[in-house]
């Protein structure tokens, strides 16, 4: 699981190590890169774009090729110092996982159903997303009020009756205002929880934890309240630390718990 192949450029996401040149098979013109995050609605949208751009069959996408393109794309976005949404990193981790699973030898008797094929899950999500994406486009084309539909109105001033006006208690206004305040309150809390997760910060955090306790169980480095993006960031941080040879990942025996240990105390001070 941890033997992520070297060519996956996680490094660029973290510290923006400069590339000498742009990858040749990148399908997005470099000048368009600064608008990409606004252009795509998310990682699924980007993947669909990469697949559709090359006329690939969604049911049989070459995972290796698509993974490489996706990684190149997000590493360049990372390099341009754009805040890369955690969702994009999550997808990168998923692709890496699928790729590594495909590289592993499989037991002969293990005839997997579609549900167990990691590609099947991804393909199903891509299909479902594309369906909604198309539906949203179709919805946008329906005739609608304010754009294509105008209600026919006539004058009714000859009707003598005073049209009743809406009755409002001042209390209604106070309630309405309290509603706004409550929402504003929730919104401000929301902003705090939505603070972007940074791999670099997480690396520092882990090293600090290891300062106190030189060896930690792998699972202790994850905060499940942060959800999947948080898990991905922690995972990437561990990989980075391992790659930089600041920590060591060990396993006492097969299938036992992994633990993380400081590898070089002197070097750690410099992170």
């Amino acid at each position: 699981m941890l033997s992520i192949p070297e060519e996956i450029p996680f490094r660029a996401i973290v510290d923006g190590k400069p590339y000498q040149e742009l990858p040749k098979d990148l399908y997005i013109p470099p000048e368009a890169l600064d608008v990409v995050l606004e252009t795509f609605e998310g990682p699924l949208d980007l993947l669909l774009y990469l697949i559709r751009k090359q006329n690939l069959d969604i049911l049989n996408i070459p995972i290796l090729q698509i993974t490489q393109q996706y990684m190149q794309y997000i590493s360049i976005v990372g390099e341009l110092k754009l805040e890369l949404a955690a969702e994009y990193l999550l997808m990168a981790a998923l692709l890496a996982e699928i790729k590594s699973r495909l590289l592993l030898p499989r037991k002969a008797e293990q005839i997997e159903g579609d549900e167990d094929d990691p590609r099947a899950v991804l393909i199903r999500r891509l299909q479902e997303y594309e369906r909604i994406k198309n539906a949203a486009e179709a919805l946008d084309e329906l005739p609608r009020l304010e754009r294509d539909i105008v209600v026919a109105t006539i004058d009714t001033s000859i009707v003598k009756v005073q049209r009743p006006k809406a009755e409002v208690q001042f209390q209604d206004i106070v309630f309405a205002l309290q509603g706004i305040l409550k929402r504003a309150d929730q919104l401000s809390h929301h902003v705090i929880t939505k603070e972007p997760l940074s791999v670099k910060d997480r690396m520092n955090q882990i090293m600090k934890q290891l300062d106190v306790q030189p060896s930690l169980l792998f699972k202790m480095l994850f905060t499940y309240e942060e959800g999947r993006p948080g898990v991905v960031v922690a995972f990437l941080a561990i990989l980075e630390l391992s790659k930089a040879e600041l920590v060591e990942i060990t396993q006492a025996e097969p299938f036992s718990e992994l633990s993380i240990r400081v590898k070089n105390k002197a070097k750690a001070e410099r992170v």
Binding site: E41, E87, L103, R119, A136, P143, R144, R147, A152, R183
Partner: protein
Amino acid sequence: MSENQQEQGELKRIIEALLFASDSPMSLQQLQAVFPELDAPRKQAIQQAIDSICLDYQSSAIELHQVASGWRFQVKVDMASWVARLFIQKPPKYSRALLETIAIIAYQQPVTRGDIEEIRGVSVSTYMIDTLLDREWVKVDGHKETPGRPALYVTTKQFLDYFNLASLDDMPALQELEALAIAGEMAI
């Protein structure tokens, strides 16, 4: 003209007047409720009047159209470009994110915010949900019995009215999902 026909002709004019005068679409029930209780026409008679009015306006610039919350007179769609010249303000444009979100709610309802995020693969902002609630395109319809009891969102009649639809069945058909048939061998 028989007395019956005369009555039906009069009913038709009343229905026509009411539908033109009302600010919002009117259902058969709402039309019926305008009449004195003991003298109210049957819904079938009102429907007949509506059918007849629809025919009358066939060659006109307006039409009687049925949307989710009832019937309304509206300018025919082929006149839209002319009518648009009357209005200085540009019609609002909706972002892809918003359209995708409302599409998910419309097709998969009831859904939680988490369901929407799962399908779109990105987080859904509070602002977006608020905008949809504010426009009264969606409403909260109960809570899911899972941890946190997240709100379940459904679309409203106003949403259908806005998009000129009479029911959810009139939404553009979702494309079929192609069956997954991944070969046993997983090529890389």
